[in-house]
Every structure is written in C-alpha cells, then in structure tokens.
C-alpha cells in the first residue's frame, strides 16, 4: 500500500516536471537552430556585402569625345618618326574637345577641374592608337574615353550628387549633366580591371599584375609542394620503421600545420632573403614560403589517400614478385593519385588566399608592371586586396570588393574541382 502510493507520487512528480522539461528541450533545440542560422547568416552577410560593393567595378564610365588627331600637336615637322609620336603631347588631344565643348570655362581653376573629367589613362590609349596606325593623324574620331574615378563614382551613384554640390563641385555636376544630356556618358565593360597592373589612379588600376604574380607563385608552390609532399607521405606510410626519427617527423608535421602563417614569413625573410640573398618581392621566394606552409596539408592528404588503398593490392603485387618500390610505383601510387591531387588542390587554394607571410618577404611593393616570370618583382591577389583596402579613394573600395570576388571565384572553382575529382575517382573497396 505504502509502496504503491510512493510510486504514484514519483509519477506525479515526474508528470508535473514534464512540461518544464519539454519546454527546456524545445528551447535547447531552438538555440541549436539559432546557432546554425547565425552561421548561415554570417556567410550571407559577408557575400552580400562584398558583392553589393564590388559588382560595379566590372563596368567603367566612359565619355564620348570627338578627338582630332591634330598633326600640329602630334608631329609638327611631319616627320612620321615613331620616336616623335611617342613623345608628343597627347594631353592636348584630350583637352581640346573639352575646351570646345565648354568655351565659357575661362578661369584656370575651372579649367583644371574640367580637364580632370577624363582619366590620365586616356592619353596612353590615344598614344597607342596613333603608334599602331599613324595614318590616323589629321582625322577626327568619336571615341569613348575613360572617365576619371571621381566622375565614375558620381555616375554610379556611390557619391551622391548633392554631396558634390555641397563640397563646391556645382560646376562638375552641371558639366556632367550636359554630357549626360548629349548622350556622351556610358558604362562599358571594364577590361582595364582585368589586364593592367596596379596604379595610383583607381580607374587605371587592375588585377592583371596580381593575378600573374599569384600564378607564378602558385606554380612554384605546386612544383615543389606536390612532389615533396607525396614523397614524404610515401616514406611515412610505406617505408618508415616505427622509431624516434619517424615520430619526430610526425610531430613536426602536426605542429607545422598549426604554426601561424606569419611565422613562415619571418622564416622566409631571415633565411631566403637575408641568408641566401634571393630577390625580395619575387614569386620564387613567395612560392618557397608557401611550399613550406602547405606541405603539412599535402602530406596529410596524401597519407590519407595511401591509407585508403587496401593492403590486398600490395600483397598481390608482392606475391607475383614485384619489389616494394615497384609495388608502390606501379600499383599503390596510381590508385592513391586522385586523393593526392585533391589534397594538392586544397593546399593550393589555401596558398592562393594567404597574405601575411608574403607581406614579410616584400611582396607588398607598389608594382605597376605585369610580371613576366618567377623572378620579377610582383604582388599577389590577396596582397593587392590588402593594398587597395588601405587606399583612401572611394573608387578603390569598389575595386577591392571586385578583386575579392575574383579571388573567391578562383577559390570556389578550385574547391569545386577537388570535390569533383573526389566524387569521380572515389572508390569503395
């Protein structure tokens, strides 16, 4: 009797607490869901903020002008000598139509402002046109000239027109409206952004140099990290006896994977540049540093790939009389190769996004020329992003975001390639 009462009391207690416990349960669930939601939200905000800032940089404002290739300016003596044409004053070609369009602009200050409408890069374009085809001299052509970055920002609406007027730029807006009224303003696809190197003028700067630098750096990294990583993995998985030396290597690989990347930069600076005298800012040195940095990733992935090859393959090869080295070279390595390649691609993606160690070895220099080889001074895409992010001009914010979009596009396609490789060649034994 007594017992049954106590049992029912327990049941009552439990039932009474059930509501509270279930509420707790659903709160806990909600918290978990909320955490995931936050994580996804962060990804979303990051991408939206970058893309909304950056998509505009893929187009560039151009202004249509009737440019007269006046022989009196370009080649007063009529020599036709390319040297003379190279030295000629192309600025006048750009300024003349502006003066003709706005004859009432007289004061020096206003004139200077007016001339700033067109980018300095337009002069170079005109020069290249003349040098490519000297017969153009003496004719007049309607040309789309690159606008200055401030004009570009106003046209794209990143700088409000009211703000420009408030800052004393009333005339600029009047002029711009006249251009627009005459249909002389157009946004065209921005090829400069993809082909040219860095520049102090936002509208003339591009990621071409940085992409080339990244390419050479990654080539050096791949050529060193993949063979060394695979060789190290083969030794550790297939040959290494369990002894102190092997343990030491394993501990080192695990620790190197977690050493901050900037420390690798210090190593590169002290060893490669100061001790061996390799050139600063060169993709070769960048590639060496990134090799040391990505080796642990490559080795760990390659070891996993070797481990996944079943022992029966090895035993069968050894059984028909192959030597250990033949077994590995002819049977194990080919089977493990897709996994190793996947690891290598992921390592390369990691190297492509790396910035800090490259700052240490001088790849932050301001470099206008597109590098032509692994010994030319150059910068890489992430460092270019860092440099632009530091620049005060509004137009560079747009360029920075666009460069980030390009970088992310490379990274996403590399990772997608790795996933496809894995899916295609993955074998279940």
């Amino acid at each position: 009797m007594n017992q049954s009462r106590s049992r029912s009391r327990t049941a009552e207690l439990v039932e009474a607490s059930l509501k509270r416990r279930y509420a707790k349960e659903s709160r806990f669930r909600m918290m978990g869901l909320g955490a995931i939601g936050l994580g996804l939200l962060f990804v979303l905000i990051l991408f939206v903020s970058i893309i909304s800032n950056g998509y505009g940089a893929f187009v560039q404002t151009h202004i249509r002008m009737a440019v007269t290739f006046d022989s009196a300016i370009l080649d007063p003596q009529g020599t036709g000598d390319p040297e003379v044409l190279k030295q000629a004053d192309y600025r006048q070609l750009v300024r003349q139509p502006l003066r003709e369009m706005f004859p009432d602009v007289k004061s020096r200050r206003d004139k200077r402002k007016l001339y700033q409408f067109i980018s300095g890069g337009a002069e170079r374009e005109l020069r290249d046109m003349v040098l490519a085809d000297p017969s153009i001299i003496g004719t007049t052509k309607e040309l789309w000239l690159m606008a200055d970055d401030d004009v570009d920002m106003v046209v794209k609406g990143h700088i409000a027109r009211e703000d420009v007027i408030a800052n004393g730029g009333e005339k600029l807006i009047q002029w711009l409206e006249r251009f627009e009224a005459e249909d002389r303003v157009e946004r065209q696809f921005n090829t400069t952004f993809f082909t040219s190197g860095d520049s102090r003028e936002p509208e003339q700067s591009g990621i071409g140099g940085a992409v080339a630098g990244s390419f050479f750096t990654l080539i050096v990294t791949l050529l060193l990290a993949f063979p060394i990583g695979v060789a190290a993995a083969v030794y550790l998985e297939e040959f290494a006896p369990r002894n102190r030396f092997t343990d030491l290597i394993e501990v080192n690989i695990n620790n190197l994977a977690a050493v901050p990347s900037i420390v690798f930069g210090l190593l590169g600076l002290a060893m490669f540049i100061n001790l061996f005298g390799l050139p600063r800012s060169a993709p070769l040195v960048g590639g060496l540093v990134l090799t040391l940095m990505t080796l642990p990733t490559v080795i760990i992935a390659a070891r996993a790939a070797l481990k996944s090859v079943p022992p029966s393959i090895r035993e069968a090869a050894l059984g028909v009389g192959a030597s250990k080295m033949q077994t590995i070279a002819h049977h194990v390595l080919p089977l493990a190769m897709p996994g190793m390649l996947t690891g290598a691609i992921i390592g390369m993606a990691q190297a492509l996004g790396e910035t800090a160690p490259l700052l240490m070895i001088g790849m932050v220099a301001f470099i206008v020329d597109v590098p032509g080889g692994p010994l030319d001074p150059s910068t890489v895409l992430p460092v270019q992003i860092y440099l632009w992010a530091d620049s005060p001009e509004r137009a560079f914010v747009e360029r920075t975001s666009a460069a980030i979009m390009v970088l992310l596009a490379f990274l996403i396609s590399m990772n997608a390639l790795a996933v496809i490789l894995r899916r295609k060649f993955e074998r279940r034994w």
């Binding site: 040959f239 290597i249 901050p260 420390v263 992430p382 970088l407």
Partner: protein, 462 residues
C-alpha cells in the same frame, strides 16, 4: 636566364643518359634474347645512369646559385680601396647596393663616382665569369658522373637495388623537410631575438608595460625613446582572441550539437558545407569586411547608446575573427560528439532523460576534453591570425581591456615593423623577430596542450 638554360640542357642529357644506360645493359648482356642474363630490367640500368647524370649536378647547381651572390660581393668588397673598406657596415652596404644596381643597369641613388664604376665593371666581369663557370662545371659534372655510371653497367650489377636505394634516400630527404622547416623557423627567430636581447634586456621586453618601437634618429627627438615592453601587445592579443572565442564557442558548439544530434541528414548535408565555407575564405577578405562593414556598424551601434567607440575597436576585430573560427570549433566538436558511443545515449534515453538532458548531462561531459582541445586549437588560431587585425585593429599600443577601444596585437606589430624599408640591425627590425618568437612559443604550447588533451581523450573509448 642562365639557370633555365642549364636545366633544359641537363634534362636533355638525362634523357640521353637513360638511353645510353639501357643500351649498354642490353649490349653487355649480348642482345635482346639473353636479356635474362641481366640482374635487373634494362630500364633500371637506364635510370641508374640518368640519376647519376642528374643528382650530383643538381645539388651543385643549387648550392652554387645560393652562394654565388655573397661570394661575388665579398670579392668586390675585397677589390675596393682600403679607405672604403674601413667604412661602417651600413655605409658599405649602400655602396655595394649602388655597385650592384649599376652592374645590372638600374638606377642608382647618387651619381656614381669612379671607384663605384670600377667596382661595378669588376662585378659585371665576375658575374659573366661565374655564369660561364657555372654552366661548364655543372654540365661537365653531369657528363663525368654519367660516364662513370655508364662504365659500371654490367649484367651482374644490381641496378634495381641501387636505383631503389637512391629513390628511398630521396623519399627520406623529402620527409625530413618538415624537420628542417621547424629547425629553420626556430633558428631564424631565435638568432635574431638573441641579437635583439643584446640591445634590449629580456626583462624589459617581457615585463615592460610600454610599447613604442620608434627609436630616436636624432638624440634630442621628442617622444622617441623606444620602449619594447610586450605586455600591452599580449593584452591586446588576448583581448581580441577572447572576444573571438566568446563569439565562436557558443555558436560553433551549439551548431555542432544541433547538426550531430537533431538535424535531418538533408539539413546536415546543406548546413555543414555552408558553415565550412567560412573556413575557406581568405583572412584578407575578413579583414576588409571588418574594416569596411563591421567596424562602422559597431561604432554606430555604440554611439546610439551614447558610448564612445573607437573606429578600430577591439570588438569589431574580435567579432569578425570569431566568425572566422566558428567552423574550427564546430567541425572539431562535431567529430568528438560523433565519437561518443551510441550506448551512452541509449542508456540515458532508457532512464527517461529528454534529448537535451542527454546532451547536457551525458554527451557534453563525455566529449568535454575533445571540445576543450578544439577550443584551444581555435584560440591558437586566433592568436596567430594576422590580416584581420592588421586591417581592423589599431596600430598604437594601449594597455586596456575595454573592448570599445583600439588595441594592437603581436602580429600587427610584426607586420608594421617589417613592412617597408628596413635596416636589418636596428632594434626595431629585430624586435619583430622577438615578437615572432613569443608568438611561436605561445601557439606551439597551445597546440601541444590541445593535441595532448585530444589524444588522451581518444584513448578512453577506443
């Protein structure tokens, strides 16, 4: 480039060497039919000769390329007149730089005088000679080594064993690169740090409360005494990392719990990779995001409450760093939660516990060491992170734990001290290496501790 040419010629010669070795093996065996007289397959004889053609000369090429520059510089310094050689190291360095630029046809810092021009001409001549000598020595070495190997080819020679022995040696060398890298890191930061500690006492560095690395150029300069106390940097680093962990640990842990305990396979297959995207984004992107979007937002939010927030607040940098390390915490926790045996869950359910009670009172305690290890790894990641703080945290040191103020970190200071022009002997430059040593030591200790905890935990269930 000369080196490229040498490499191409070497490659071509390697192909020849392979063919010659193989032919000679077949030839000494007496034609294709009695090929069974050979100890190894004919191609192994080819590989053997080829390896001898390649390896010694590649080694010499590497060493030569590394040391040519410094040897030539020494020779040029030796040829300079006596009074110039007596100059200080820095001045001599300037002159040598001029000589080098002049020799390669670049712009020089000042109008070259006669001695510089002579030295440049001398250097140019030496460079020409050295390049020629390099090509001759390396190709000759290749031919001679291959010749000897070729002569030793005979049916009885154990070519396969020899080739495999060499290949195994190469594998061991590759595996040792990891050790060499660690030694290189320790050496490079340690030596420069020791030189730094000769100028600044260790105790001043480790316990100093002030960091202002501007050393005076003139003796009477104001505010340029140069203080190298690491404490404000460490406090700043720990503050930002702490904020990052406060953001990342709850979010990462909760999402790991949800994904491994509650989520349907469908949700898991979408949410897990999306969160891991955060780990693949380059840190410079986070830095830009922090400086452009988050810092102004934090500042505006603070000001709406009447708080004075710095535009480079520790809070903004920490928040973004937290976002960056969410995937570390979540994927490491996910692994350990999945490693908790199902039997423990079933036992808890059988006693009538709800799912959340099971998670909180059974799974988390069981997985705690692993989670701690993951958090420590994430912390070491946060402490060593560079780009986010370089772009979003402050530059001047500030001994405070107020997250709304600007603080600077160890990594920011390393970058600011080493980017741009530098002389390699000043305390400023050397200080960066001392900071590198501090950073390396802290992260190494954290990693060793984390791996130790994780490993110890794993042994319990396996």
């Amino acid at each position: 480039m000369q080196t490229y040419m040498i490499l191409i010629v070497l490659l071509a010669f390697m192909a020849f060497a392979y063919q010659f070795g193989k032919r000679r093996a077949l030839h000494t065996a007496g034609g294709p039919a009695p090929v069974r007289n050979l100890h190894s397959l004919p191609s192994y004889y080819g590989f053997y000769v080829m390896l001898w053609a390649a390896l010694p000369s590649l080694l010499v090429l590497l060493l030569w390329s590394l040391f040519q520059e410094s040897v030539l510089t020494q020779l040029v310094i030796g040829s300079l007149p006596q009074d110039m050689r007596a100059l200080s190291e820095a001045e001599l360095g300037l002159i040598i730089n001029d000589v080098r630029n002049l020799a390669s046809g670049d712009i020089v810092s000042q109008e070259p005088d006669e001695t510089t021009q002579m030295a440049a001409a001398h250097l140019q001549k030496l460079q020409g000679m050295a390049d020629l000598a390099k090509a001759v020595v390396i190709l000759a070495l290749s031919v001679i080594a291959a010749g000897f190997a070729w002569r030793s080819v005979a049916p009885k020679m154990r070519a396969r064993n020899r080739v495999e022995w060499i290949v195994k040696g190469l594998l061991i060398i590759s595996a040792s690169v990891a050790i060499l890298t660690t030694i290189g890191i320790v050496m490079s930061v340690l030596f420069e740090s020791l030189r730094f500690f000769q100028k600044i006492p260790v105790t001043d560095f480790l316990f100093g409360l002030e960091w202002s690395p501007q050393t005076a150029i003139r003796a009477d300069q104001v505010g340029a005494t140069g203080a190298f106390g690491v404490i404000p940097l460490l406090v700043g680093t720990l503050l930002i990392s702490f904020i990052a962990l406060v953001v990342a640990v709850p979010i990462g842990l909760m999402s790991a719990i949800y994904l491994s305990e509650y989520a349907t396979p469908h949700l898991r297959s979408i949410a897990k990779p999306v969160i891991e995207v955060l780990a693949g984004i380059p840190t410079v992107v986070y830095g830009f995001f922090a400086a452009l979007t988050v810092a102004p937002a934090v500042r505006g939010f603070g000001e709406s409450f009447g708080l004075d927030v710095s535009s480079e607040s520790a809070l903004a940098a920490g928040l973004v760093m937290g976002i960056m390390i969410i995937p570390f915490v979540s994927s490491l926790s996910d692994d350990v939660i999945n490693a908790v045996p199902q039997a423990m869950r079933d036992a808890s359910f059988a006693l009538g516990a709800t799912h959340s009670e099971t998670v909180r009172q059974v799974i988390i305690p069981a997985a705690l060491p692993g989670i701690m290890g993951g958090v420590l790894l994430a912390a070491s990641r946060a402490i060593g992170e560079t780009m986010i703080v370089v772009m979003a945290a402050g530059l001047s040191s500030n001994l405070t734990v107020n997250p709304l103020e600007a603080v600077t970190t160890v990594t920011v200071q390393i970058v600011t001290l080493l980017v741009g022009d530098q002389e390699f002997d000043s305390a400023k430059t050397l200080a960066a290496f001392a900071l590198g040593l501090v950073l390396f030591t802290i992260t190494l200790a954290l990693n060793v501790l984390a791996l130790h905890i994780v490993r110890k935990y794993r042994e319990q269930y396996e």
